[in-house]
């Protein structure tokens, strides 16, 4: 992986929601093509904010983001979709008053000609969604919503996929499925950056992990190294559990 070119480079990001209050205080990350990156960290560390800042949903006040060498700092989210970035937010990640099919159609908004073709692909990945395509997304369970959200983000065949806690709220079997699916998507060549609370699982499958704390990327190492790192265990993983 280390010989692959850098595809996404975030350099010293300062960002926040309200004027004068920075949530990210110098967050950096370098992602190589085809990598599966896991981001872990305590609640409120700024993980979601970091993904949103990469994706143009939170204004970046200082620092820069480049995608394949091109400056994309503060580009609008729809412009990033055009450049091949996909994003699954942690919360509010479906359009509740739209049907499942309409949700997926919105995912393919910029490539509506290929919508039919993409639908068959999604039908292979998530057969339930196609069976229930006329159901309103607002009436789905949390786990089913996660599926819709993931499928929506895949409609444009992104090169880089940002996932914010894709396994949150899923039953253990579904969580496994999600991790395996994420790994599979990554194997097809998609660069994946995932934030996870299920840190052990996440670190087991990812190439590299980042630990985020108080708005800075504290350190990075391979997933296996982080799993064994005494400081990570003490501060974050906890000592219980496998």
């Amino acid at each position: 992986m280390t010989d692959h070119p850098v595809i996404l480079d975030a350099d010293d990001l300062i960002a926040g929601y309200l004027p004068g209050i920075n949530i990210l205080n110098g967050c950096s990350m370098e992602v190589r093509e085809g990598e599966l990156i896991g981001i872990i960290g305590p609640n409120g560390a700024g993980k979601s904010t970091f993904l949103k800042a990469l994706f143009g949903l939170v204004p970046v006040r200082d620092g820069s983001v480049t995608l394949a060498g091109e400056d994309i700092t503060n580009l609008r989210a729809d412009q990033l979709v055009k450049r091949g970035v996909g994003f699954v937010p942690q919360t509010n990640n479906v359009f509740p008053s739209l049907t499942i099919e309409e949700n997926l159609e919105m995912g393919a908004y910029q490539a509506h000609k290929s919508f039919k073709k993409q639908m068959t692909k999604i039908g292979d990945l998530f057969p339930v969604l196609v069976e229930r395509k006329n159901q309103r997304a607002g009436s789905l369970s949390g786990g089913e919503r996660q599926m819709v959200a993931m499928a929506r983000a895949l409609m444009m065949d992104p090169q880089v996929l940002l996932l914010d806690e894709p396994s949150a709220g899923l039953s253990p079997v579904r969580q496994d499925e999600t991790f395996v699916r994420t790994r599979d998507i990554n194997r097809t060549g998609v660069t994946v950056i995932m934030v996870e609370q299920n840190a052990r699982r996440c670190l087991q499958i990812c190439d590299r992990g980042y630990v985020l704390d108080q708005g800075t990327s504290a350190y990075t190492a391979t997933g296996q190294e982080l799993l064994k790192d005494p400081k990570v265990i003490e501060l974050y993983l906890g000592t219980l559990g496998a």
Partner: protein, 358 residues
């Protein structure tokens, strides 16, 4: 058309209608008796001119539907703007007046003038082209407003209360501008008298029938747009969640621009038809209508695309039918009373969904 509107919602809406209807019938039977007993001379004359008491009710019910349809045209844009941007646009009433006034300006045979220009002239176009131009100019005004004011405020992330205050200011500015331009007296778009036809107990003019048809076609058009076109579905997506819409690749600002153009055009059409229906429109008629539009949109379910339609019909019918028993001056107060009663039972409005938790 409404395939995706789920059935339970429609059922609930139907239920509210049925309860309201039962309520009306009850009041009619009880109230009718009381009326016959009372020796009020005014009631007696109105009853005499329109034959039996039941006929007044039917006539007013019909008038209510007409008024409700026109109100729906005016308020559907208000609802779309609220849905996509979160803004309660207090200047929407002036958009209604504006469309009618431009049409008057183009269609009247009297000499007209533009503010600050010292001479006057007559344009004197036939009504239909004048109305089409009036609607187009209003739609253009909606585009311009979003471009120079609203999109700038959104980009700078100005909070909603501040934006609302700007819209109140704009409303005052526009209503005064229209008064300065057109004057304080109501104007008529056409001088010809609309002959009334009698259909059973209901008497109605041809222009009103045409207006109803146009309003129904326009409203069906809006529903078709929202339900069956990609752009319309994207509009609903933006109403649901603008950030997610953007993350899906939708240019949210372009959608909002389209919504402004549509809202302004529909408001103008509503204003023109209202001016024809009530045979004249004053500089502040739209302003007066604003409260009813807000009531209709809230009653139907804030931000719900079809809420404005349902709410407007109910408000229109209640306002008109109440004049059978109550003085006409009270009709809007009655409509607002209904709004409050319905909200007590369904706080989210008739079609609004109570947000699920978690």
């Amino acid at each position: 058309m409404l395939a995706t509107l789920d059935r339970r919602t429609l059922l609930k809406a139907a239920l509210v209608f049925v309860i309201a209807a039962i309520g009306f019938v009850a009041v009619v039977t009880l109230g009718g008796g009381a009326e016959a007993a009372s020796a009020d001379p005014e009631v007696a004359t109105t009853a005499a001119t329109t034959a039996a008491g039941g006929n007044i009710l039917l006539q007013n019910l019909f008038n209510g539907v007409v008024f409700g349809l026109l109100l729906a045209l005016a308020s559907v844009g208000l609802s779309l703007i609220y849905g996509t941007t979160g803004l309660s646009n207090f200047a929407h009433g002036e958009m209604v007046t504006f469309g009618a006034m431009i049409t008057f300006f183009l269609a009247t045979q009297q000499p007209v003038s533009l503010p600050l220009l010292p001479f006057s002239f007559t344009v004197g176009l036939p009504l239909i082209p004048a109305a089409l131009i009036g609607i187009s100019i209003s739609a253009g005004f909606g585009w311009l407003q979003d471009k120079v004011i609203w999109s700038q405020l959104r980009r700078r992330r100005v909070a909603m209360v501040q934006q609302m205050i700007v819209s109140i200011g704009l409303s005052l500015a526009l209503v005064n501008l229209i008064q300065w331009w057109i004057g304080g007296r109501p104007v008529r778009l056409t001088t010809s008298i609309d002959p009334r036809n009698q259909y059973g107990p209901i008497s109605v003019g041809n222009v009103t029938l045409m207006s109803m048809a146009i309003a129904i076609v326009a409203l069906l058009g809006v529903a078709y747009f929202l339900q069956r076109t990609r752009l319309g579905r994207a509009t609903r997506a933006v109403s649901d969640n603008p950030a997610l819409a953007s993350a899906s690749g939708i240019k949210v600002d372009s959608i909002i621009r389209i919504v402004w153009v549509m809202a302004a055009g529909l408001a103008a059409l509503g204003g023109i038809l209202l001016a024809l229906y009530q045979q004249g429109i004053g500089f502040d008629d739209g302003t007066q209508l604003l409260l009813l539009m807000f009531a209709a949109v809230t009653l139907g379910g804030l931000g719900h695309p079809y809420g404005a339609l349902v709410g407007s019909l109910i408000i229109g019918i209640v306002a008109e039918v109440s004049t059978v028993w109550l003085p006409p001056d009270l009709k809007f107060a009655t409509a607002l009373g209904i709004l409050i009663v319905v909200l007590l039972f369904r706080p989210q409005g008739i079609l609004g969904k109570s947000e699920r938790v978690g």
